[in-house]
């Protein structure tokens, strides 16, 4: 039996984090009321003049730099013509022969855990379409549809990979990494469930070792990477069975049906020239200088690969700890803030992954809204490290910081958490405990080490747990000599 090899290419659409649309000054924010964030330009009324949003260009450049692309010194816009009511102008303004970024790559782990570079063919800027509300259950059973153009002309980047992925796992790893990089770069919200990141899959099968690509099928309507993973596995299986039965794969677009867990045929894919691309005459070309590229590059934060390496090497964190922190940009940025003030990075990592994460989850908050300040956490960790408060008290203080927003110093003093680390203050208590427990003191002198634990417990009890345990031990040892 012939063994097959899967060939996967991905296309992502990411909404850019601009305040306004790509060619007009309408807001990109979500509007509950339909057709309230529109103007003559994004409605495509006759005689209007679109003007490119500079921020959209810069965010596309940022995405390109973060994804190891070359930024084109010269790019321009084209019209892609097709009729569909979510498109007010009956064409989409996009970039065809001269996109803003070309030839990048992302590094992901392959099946053997080795690093594999998945190439990116291009990134181009374009406008989003509007949304359609259908009168019936679905588009085919509806008697009419209702376009809302609030989202029309929100700036998008389309990121097109090369067909470099060989499995659903690699495709998912690429998707996860791309999402994380765009999030770090601050280019997009990348929320698949809200549609600010969307993904289409191109997939074909060919006999193992062949260099002749099979007929590819495009899969749309993937609302999560989980759905993408399932859809790829379903499609691999469907295509393999068809080939084995001697049937011909049709080049077409299929939609993922989450409910039934299968891909369904939509319509045969029109050829590229059917879109009748032609240069957009209302927009002038974009010329990008090396100086501009460097200015945009300087806005980029440290990206995931480099950050993970640094946390591992400089901070001595384990692979697991690094992955946990790097996977959440807000947590990683917070880590850096705390680390500027408090230098025990291992401790910071433990607290962030442990109690801080737990409290964020309990409060059902996002990491973007960590309700404590970095310098307050640094202060708290310093207090715990120096022994001024004990570890359990520190946890209680953190909890109250989350709940009340009070400063740690205030909570420590209010709740009487400060450890007694002054030996003259403790000597009295230690002396009293030795006198009251003469038998245990005798046992210890006779060499019974367990008696030390008992005596320490008595001192802690007498001081309501506030005595610095190391100091108590020291004092007991000295006085029992």
């Amino acid at each position: 039996m012939t063994e097959f090899q899967t060939v996967i290419g991905l296309e992502f659409h990411a909404e850019l984090k601009t305040k306004t649309k790509i060619f007009c000054s309408c807001p990109t924010t979500f509007a509950g009321e339909p057709n309230t964030h529109v103007c003559p330009v994004c409605l495509g009324l006759p005689g209007v003049l679109p003007v490119l949003n500079k921020r959209a260009v810069e965010l596309a450049m940022k995405a390109g730099l973060a994804l190891n692309c070359q930024i084109s010194p010269f790019s321009k816009f084209d019209r892609k013509n097709y009729f569909y009511p979510d498109l007010p102008k009956a064409y989409q303004v996009t970039q065809y022969p001269l996109p803003i970024c070309k030839s990048g790559y992302i590094t992901v782990p392959d099946a053997d855990g080795n690093e594999k570079n998945i190439r990116i063919n291009r990134i181009h800027l374009e406008e989003d379409a509007g949304k359609l509300v259908h009168s019936g259950e679905s588009i085919t059973t509806s008697n009419y549809s209702l376009p809302d153009y609030n989202r029309a002309a929100v700036p998008l980047i389309e990121i097109v990979s090369e067909p470099d992925m060989a499995s659903a796992e690699e495709a998912k790893a690429f998707g996860d990494k791309l999402k994380l990089i765009l999030e770090y770069a601050g280019v997009s919200d990348v929320k698949m469930e809200q549609g600010s990141l969307r993904c289409d899959v191109n997939i074909s099968l060919m006999p193992k070792g062949s260099d002749k690509l099979g007929t590819k099928v495009e899969i749309k309507n993937l609302n999560s990477f989980r759905a993408m993973h399932r859809a790829i596995q379903f499609e691999e299986d469907r295509q393999r069975r068809m080939i084995e039965r001697g049937e011909k794969i049709v080049q077409e677009t299929r939609t993922w049906d989450e409910g039934s867990g299968q891909t369904l045929s939509m319509r045969s894919k029109e050829n590229d020239h059917d879109y009748r691309y032609f240069p957009e005459p209302d927009l002038v070309p974009t010329v990008i200088t090396p100086e501009w590229i460097e200015a945009v590059r300087s806005e980029l934060p440290e990206l995931p690969d480099k950050r993970e390496k640094r946390l591992k090497e400089e901070c001595g964190l384990s692979y697991y700890d690094c992955a946990q922190i790097v996977a959440t940009p807000a947590l990683a940025f917070f880590f850096d803030e705390v680390a500027k003030i408090f230098d025990d990075k291992k401790t910071i990592a433990n607290w962030l992954i442990g109690d801080v994460s737990r409290l964020i989850n309990v409060a059902e908050k996002e990491y973007e809204q960590i309700p404590i300040a970095a310098d307050d956490l640094a202060y708290l960790l310093e207090q715990a490290k120096s022994g001024a408060i004990n570890n359990n008290s520190a946890k209680a203080v953190l909890e109250e910081m989350f709940a009340s927003g009070k400063k740690p110093a205030e909570i420590i003093s209010e709740r009487g958490f400060a450890q007694i680390s002054d030996s003259s203050a403790l000597e009295e208590a230690v002396k009293a405990v030795i006198e009251a427990n003469a038998k245990a003191a005798e046992d210890f002198r006779a060499g019974k080490q367990q008696a030390m634990g008992f005596l320490m417990g008595q001192v802690m009890k007498a001081t309501k747990g506030q005595a610095n345990p190391n100091l108590v031990k020291e004092l007991l040892a000295k006085m029992l000599k």
Partner: protein, 94 residues
């Protein structure tokens, strides 16, 4: 350059136009004339001539990313043939 009935029907379909049989000859002639003219341009040697991507000598015309007021919805929908609850209303798509 000879254009066929099939070519005209193909582009008409893409443009969602219906062309009557008696109009067909006229379209074939007119479209062929345009392509013949373009063919003439093809004969010019353009080696070393930079690509023209825009007819105006302009580049980098940008807008600041600042929100300005939108069009009031009564005006947005004023010319729509049909509306419903603040939406445009369009006939059955498929």
């Amino acid at each position: 350059m000879a254009i066929t009935v099939n070519d005209v029907e193909y582009v008409a379909k893409l443009a969602k136009l219906t062309i009557a049989d008696e109009e067909m000859d006229g379209y074939i002639k007119k479209l062929s004339a345009i392509l013949d003219y373009m063919q003439q341009l093809q004969e010019i040697d353009t080696n070393g001539v930079p690509l023209t991507t825009h007819v105006l000598p302009l580049e980098n015309i940008f807008r600041k990313d600042e929100v300005k007021p939108c069009l009031p919805r009564e005006k947005v929908l004023a010319n729509a043939p049909d509306t419903e609850d603040g939406y445009f209303k369009v006939p059955k798509i498929f």
